[in-house]
Amino acid sequence: MSDLGPPTGPEDSDEVLAAEYALGVLDPPERDVAERRVLTDPTFAERVDDWRARLAALLDGLAPVAAPEGVWPRIVEGLGALGNVVELRLRRSLVIWRSVSAAAASAAAVLAIVAFMPRAEKPAPVMTSEIAAANKGPVVYVAMMDPARHRVILQPVSMTSTPGRSPELWLIGADGKPVAIGVAEFGKPVELKFNKTPTGAELLAVSIEPVGGSPTGQPTGPVVATGKLQLL
């Protein structure tokens, strides 16, 4: 059998990173970078999925063990507590969302936002982003970003409220590190200010956090949706 040499190009190094991430052998900083890649790069996410499927064969060697009887009732209890989780509602709304024209609906949402934008003295590049759930899920927010004035308006499109939680908006640059922009609302548009000047190559992401936003400065809850920036 031929022995492969060290990785030679970006494609190979992505393949190695996907394998290392799926195996779980990366140490925390690299693991975080790979995790962001999974969230923001579908090709990379597919590679990770492929590696997970390969490595799952190792799990087939383990003998099944009957689960103790008390576990299922505890799961049912847990379901009651979860109740109104956003991710689930997103999946449900996906069905409804697909029945309307996604493009038309989000265009309407963008127009709705344009009305909110304060008129600039002179035309400046304005960026928009459709922030959608993973796996080509529904658009949950539309963002209008004014880089020159460091402002972004975040308009909910199909976001369902979760009591006791806040959605938070993040800017993810090429390094894969999320920078907090601010805490948004589930049901109404908000205008947020930010310090960093986006280049347009970043992604926007929304995570579900404790009320008031992430306590750590990094996403602590599920990232429910991401979107690319584009010039309007």
Binding site: M1, V16, D27, G78
Partner: protein, 185 residues
């Protein structure tokens, strides 16, 4: 038993779970909890930790079933087993219990006979995986198992092996790429 039909049933059940059907979750649980509990026990090595992990895993299935994409060709049991393994490893790492595990522990675990129940076998690739792992350097194969089952990372493996970090990385990277080409043969 019709494996294809049973798998299809599991896929459909996950689809219903994604739509919020609790009875479907119970069906998934009945069909898969023994396999997932076996995974939790192996990784966590503690019954009560494994029970907590199992509860957490099915609550995650409830929330994330919509992310299971049967169209990509991943079998439902692969998806579930991977989710269980990853959650159990997260839990193990949070408790830092893995830091006390010798690298050899993973190698000592006897590989049980492949499951009689083919539905619960992820891709029917178990035997092939055993063959391909067997083609690696025995030491490196142990490191890979220690990472997969015991939450070891490059840093803890290098430490335990008394090897430089860069050396450990190149051993494992090369082994992973060899594993892939062997599995694809």
């Amino acid at each position: 038993m019709d494996v294809v039909a049973d798998r299809q049933q599991l896929t459909l059940a996950l689809g219903r779970v994604a739509a919020g059907d609790q009875a479907a979750l119970q069906q998934v649980y009945r069909q898969t909890s023994a396999k997932l509990f076996g995974i939790c026990l192996r990784i966590l090595g503690d019954r009560s930790e494994a029970e907590d992990a199992l509860q957490d895993i099915y609550l995650t299935v409830w929330r994330r079933a919509g992310a299971f994409d049967a169209e990509r060709g991943v079998s439902p049991i692969t998806w579930l087993a991977t989710l269980a393994r990853n959650r159990a490893i997260d839990r193990l790492r949070a408790s830092k219990a893995h830091l006390n595990r010798p690298i050899d522990a993973a190698a000592e675990t006897p590989d049980a006979a492949p499951l009689a129940d083919a539905v619960l076998e992820s891709e029917g690739t178990y035997a092939r995986m055993q063959g391909c792992i067997g083609e690696l350097e025995p030491e490196t194969a142990r490191y890979i198992r220690a990472a997969f089952f015991d939450g070891h990372t490059y840093a803890t493996l290098a430490d335990a092996a008394g090897a430089p970090l860069g050396t450990m990385k190149s051993w494992i990277r090369r082994a992973l790429m060899r594993l892939r080409s062997c599995l694809e043969r």
